[in-house]
Subunit: 204 residues, 2 copies
DNA sequence: GTCTATAGCCTGATAGAC
DNA sequence: GTCTATCAGGCTATAGAC
């Protein structure tokens, strides 16, 4: 008695295909620049069929966004109070840079949203992100107070890490155009490690 | 014999109002997210009247972009081969940061375009920007070779300056949300000066 | 579950009176 | 130069057959 493939399995497969396609299209064209048709074609479905799985274009976008954020904040959450301060920060930079290389579309999706004033994400930023940033700023502060790393503004330190690492994903076109044949990710890890090592290594 | 106000003057005034309005709307909603009606309302004109001054939505966008780019690249052009290397770079960082504070909409307009793959600007980047970057990279290289600043990857150095300074304009919503009452531009100049001073000051 | 067909809305751009 | 009215096309979302 061979069972037919579970409908739930088909559903999951199609939902996954839709979200993958949506990531591709939303991240390059933004919310308004994306049409449901584009997503459907990319996912290998018809438009009405896509809308059988998701009630609306916005619903797809929102699901994509909330799914993204957890992964996105994971490296920061991993900043370990019990680790070696400088090494913890350098590892954080390295992980963020790897995420820009491995998940550039996620980075651009997020960038698109923030540059336009975060119309669909301001709540999340004000709550989840803010409390995480407060916690980790305090951690950085304590490391500075203990003389483990140079004293500086902890939030600007975090902003700089985000900005420098995400730049390679968000401005990918520009970076690659200007670098020609050279892969940006060849030299970027060294550059960023040197930068933060010199910035943070304690010097009385 | 009193002349009626020159038509050219009215034209110039309205064209300026349209471009100002377009900057406001395009920079927050992107090209596709912006409607001609929004621009017209913001400029205090009717939609057909706006289209009397510009042939199309895209024409407005292009004029805005080409007008922007000159101003945008000016600080980099000013990098003076005969100045003191470290001071030249620190001044460049400062000027770029001021531009993010004084012209955040221009920065976001540019960011919007690049994040989405620069569909309307790739030629400019490949030509004007690339040749300027080649020229200034060579200059940075010569400063490093002469031991005036620490040796590092000149293009990554430029990318980092762009990324760090523009972040305060492009991610303004996020930055301000996370900083609360504190004005980001209070501490940013010091933070960036310290960062690049430590990065670049020669140490044998 | 998936399709074709289409409703209903919005948008860029034009026509034509004033 | 500026308006009202409107067209033509593209869009999201739904209806209804299979």
């Amino acid at each position: 008695m061979t069972k037919a493939p579970s409908p739930t399995r088909i559903q999951k497969k199609n939902r996954a295909a839709i979200l993958e396609a949506a990531l591709e299209v939303f991240s390059t064209h933004g919310f308004r620049g994306t049409t449901v048709d584009q997503i459907a074609t990319e996912a290998g479905l018809s438009k009405p069929n896509l809308l059988y799985y998701f009630p609306s274009k916005e619903a797809i976008f929102n699901e994509l966004m909330s799914g993204l954020l957890d992964t996105w904040l994971d490296p920061l959450r991993s900043l370990d109070p019990d680790g070696d301060p400088l090494q913890e920060i350098l590892s954080y930079v390295e992980r963020k840079l790897q995420m820009s290389r491995d998940f550039p579309r996620e980075s651009r999706l997020y960038a698109n949203e923030i540059v336009q004033g975060a119309p669909r994400m301001l709540d999340t930023i004000s709550n989840d992100l803010k409390s995480l940033v407060e916690e980790k700023s305090a951690l950085l502060d304590s490391w500075m107070a203990a003389g483990k790393i140079n004293r500086t503004h902890p939030k600007h330190l975090l902003f700089s890490i985000w900005s420098l690492t995400q730049h390679y994903a968000d401005f990918d076109v520009q970076v690659r155009t200007l670098m020609g044949d050279e892969d940006p990710f060849d030299a970027a890890p060294d550059y960023l490690e040197t930068l933060y090592r010199r910035m943070l290594t304690p010097r009385n």
